[in-house]
């Protein structure tokens, strides 16, 4: 009994492993989508944009709560806005749609 169950288990596992080949015996393409240099650069810009926007949002809230003083807020908000603008301009400059945020 145990050996029968073990055989069933082994066969089931082999089928699971072979499933991608059973489902697509002759696929149009079997290559993985690799990020090219442009896409990699774009990902970095998107990360930089999201980082700057999140930092701005946090700074605004911390200033509103009083955790960040007026003096520190004035010193920090300018560079953060510039960073966000730089990332947005670079994304626009790549000529592709950048989603609702932009």
């Amino acid at each position: 009994m145990a050996l029968v169950l073990a055989a069933i288990l082994a066969v089931a596992c082999v089928v699971a492993v072979a499933l991608p080949f059973i489902r697509e015996p002759e696929p149009e393409s079997d290559s993985l989508h690799e990020l090219d240099e442009d896409e990699r650069r774009r990902l970095e810009l998107l990360e930089a944009r999201d980082r700057s926007l999140a930092a701005l949002k946090e700074l605004e809230f911390d200033h509103r709560t009083g955790t960040i003083s007026d003096e520190d807020y004035r010193a920090l908000v300018g560079p953060l806005r510039r960073e966000a603008a730089t990332a947005l301009r670079a994304l626009d400059g790549e000529g592709r749609p950048t989603g609702e945020r932009t």
């Binding site: 288990l9 080949f21 990699r40 930092a55 003096e71």
Partner: protein, 664 residues
């Protein structure tokens, strides 16, 4: 059914070996079906390990003593709950649990993240599989739980101290923590191998790391409470190597959880974060090695356990390969920005990291020192409590202080004037607390007084942050104060959940300082009718009782407790004599004061045949805050762990913006 268990483990080994080889080949050659097949193999490995686990659990519940493991760890009279806990009570069973959780976490992490990080996942699978190959190999070839024998009439039973409800939850939680740290490690190494050390591996593993860290934290607190009520030496943490084994990866993961925020906000500390993840994972392996190899029971050789050398070799291989990959990918890990000021939030987090790491490495040195001293001088020198306590104060107290400073400083840089404005109330609160405690007599322990003062500072900053945040949300349109409070929590769960966790650490610090720096102890040999005093308490030994349970004889000394003229009732303390195991266990008596958090703690060191008992009694102020801290810790962790739908949408949107296709 042992054949089924053995076959299932063999299938698992085959599957994870395939996932390693096919996964690496698929990722390297860019072959989609091969990579998907490797992912399926990892998922299938979880199910075959589940079958093996079911076989072992079934054997335990049937008391099938033809399984050597079952006969060695249980007995016929062992209560069912402890029979189940024997699954992780022995070496082979706990390794099987490791593999089960590992393949389960691997399958889940791959499935949950493949929608937006598929190009990373193809490299994550072989890393997971490599770790799983090691554990599956151990279970198949070195430490199988399915070794058979001629069934004896009864099993050897379970060590009495393990027959405790805490043992049902404490070890599995530690394993969830240890194994959980494989997830950030696999994603980190996968991202490096893929050449894509962008933020995605951090985002993909953030909650996994937090989950593993929470499980390790709770597991340790449950272990501490188990030691407190069961081991019977009057404390909850003895700097024992097995306890340290769980603390070290927890400290490394704590450092990572803080420094990862710096990378997310400022794009710096990328190499540091990678190294911390490797350290945390390696320490989790080291922790399992310490617990399971037998090396800490006797540090003379590895001959006590067959898995020790295998573990050491695997840890060395893991560290060497990981560091080689980091070195290879160093050019990709260069930060584009830098630390702008030593007075900034990221700098505070960096100081916190350095202190956490220093504490972690200090503990590691204390753990390995006996091994090194024995290898070098032929004599094992154990570093005692004084060593650990010293470094806990040196690194722990500044860490406590930084916990209040970090969250209140601006990112990038903060002006001096701003610091004065921000910290004036918390500093005043701390100074007032310190002065008041000094007047009340807390000056008898300087570290204790400093810990209380710093705790007051941190508590004030947390209260201030919640008050200011709630006020701001109310001003932004929340309909009521409770709505404003919950909106604050909901909109930034990670930050405010983190503050709740900080509050739990404050409670922990106050509890530890109170119970260790300001405790009182007394011992006495009493005959029935005699009394002793400790602190304000008076204890009169009334009588000795004996009763029989299913698997033990319980001997209990009855003590009448009073404080001044007030009768506080009766307290029982004694020993259990376990029939099958032929062992004695200490059963301490504890009377907790819910108002002050203080415990009266009684141990019966020795019970003579004539009824004379040697008592050891402690008064431990504020000790219950430690256990309350555990509940607050869970609450804060849950707040921070709660899924954030907006974040998921943002990540999927970002993936779409790059042009990565969705995975099906």
């Amino acid at each position: 059914m042992a054949e089924l268990g053995r076959a299932a483990l063999l299938v698992t080994l085959g599957l994870v070996m395939y996932a390693l080889v096919a996964g690496a080949a698929g990722a390297h050659l860019g072959r989609r079906r091969l990579a998907l097949s490797a992912q399926n193999a990892l998922v299938a490995a979880f199910f075959s390990t589940l079958v093996a686990s079911a076989v072992l659990l079934g054997a335990l519940l049937r008391h099938d003593f033809s399984f050597t493991y079952v006969a060695r760890t249980t007995s016929e009279d062992l209560p069912t709950a402890y029979t189940i806990s024997a699954f992780w009570g022995g070496q082979e069973g706990s390794l099987l649990l490791w593999l089960l959780v590992l393949t389960g976490f691997g399958a889940a992490a791959v499935r949950l993240n493949r929608g937006w990080a598929r190009d990373l996942i193809v490299w994550v699978v072989p890393v997971f599989a490599a770790v799983a190959v090691f554990f599956a190999f151990l279970l198949v070839a070195v430490a199988s739980p399915f070794v058979m024998q001629a069934a004896p009439a009864d099993g050897a039973g379970m060590t009495p101290s393990l027959q405790n409800p805490y043992m049902l939850a404490h070890p599995p939680l530690l394993y969830l923590g240890y194994v959980g740290l494989t997830v950030p490690f696999a994603f980190c190494l996968g991202a490096l191998l893929a050449g894509r050390p962008d933020e995605r591996w951090l985002v993909a593993t953030r909650r996994w790391t937090l989950f593993a860290w929470t499980a390790l934290g709770i597991g340790q607190l449950l272990g501490a409470h188990w030691a407190y009520v069961e081991v019977g030496w009057g404390g909850y943490y003895a700097w024992d190597p097995v306890e340290n084994a769980a603390l070290m990866p927890w400290l490394a993961a704590t450092a990572f959880l803080h420094s990862v925020m710096v990378q997310e906000k400022r794009g710096i500390l990328r190499v540091w974060n990678v190294l911390l993840v490797i350290l945390a994972f390696s320490l989790s392996l080291f922790g399992t090695f310490l617990t399971r190899s037998g090396v800490v029971n006797s540090i003379h050789s590895f001959t006590q356990s067959s898995i020790g050398p295998w573990f050491l070799a695997f840890i060395a291989l893991t560290v060497a390969i990981s560091l080689a990959v980091v070195f290879w990918r160093l050019p990709l890990l260069r930060s584009q920005t830098r630390l702008e000021s030593p007075v900034s939030r990221e700098a505070a987090f960096l100081y916190n990291n350095l202190l956490l790491l220093a504490l972690c490495l200090t503990i590691l040195w204390g753990v390995v020192y006996p091994l090194i001293s024995e290898a070098v001088r032929g004599e094992a020198v154990v570093l005692g409590r004084a060593y650990y306590d010293f470094f806990l104060r040196i690194f722990g107290l500044p860490l406590l202080l930084l916990m209040g400073i970090g969250p209140l400083i601006a990112w990038r840089r903060a002006s001096f004037a701003s610091l004065v404005t921000t910290f004036r109330w918390p500093v005043l609160a701390a100074l007032a607390t310190g002065a008041a405690l000094l007047v009340l007599g807390a000056g008898s322990s300087v570290p204790g007084l400093v810990a209380y003062t710093f705790s007051a500072f941190v508590a004030a900053t947390i209260v201030m942050e919640f008050a200011r945040g709630t006020r701001a949300r109310k001003a932004l349109g929340a309909s009521s104060w409770p709505n404003a409070f919950f909106s604050l929590l909901g909109r930034n769960r990670r930050r405010y959940g983190g503050y709740v966790v900080h509050a739990s650490i404050v409670l922990l610090a106050v509890g530890i300082a109170g119970s260790s720096a300001f405790d009182k102890a007394a011992d006495a040999k009493l005959r029935p009718g005699e009394s002793m005093a400790v602190g304000d308490y008076n204890l009169r030994y009334e009588a000795l009782d004996e009763r029989q349970t299913s698997n033990a004889t319980e001997i209990r000394a009855q003590l009448a407790v009073s404080r001044g003229d007030r009768d506080l009732g009766t307290l029982e303390a004694g020993k259990n004599a376990y029939t099958v195991e032929q062992q004695l266990s200490n059963e301490v008596g504890i009377r907790s004061d819910p108002l002050t958090g203080e415990d009266l703690f009684v141990i019966t060191e020795q019970i003579d045949p004539d009824g004379t008992v040697y008592f050891r009694v402690f008064v431990k102020p504020l000790v219950n805050l430690i256990w309350i801290a555990g509940l607050v810790f869970v609450m804060g962790s849950l707040i921070a762990l709660w899924p954030d739908a907006r974040e998921q949408r943002r990540l999927v949107e970002r993936t779409r913006e790059i042009g990565l296709p969705a995975t099906r």
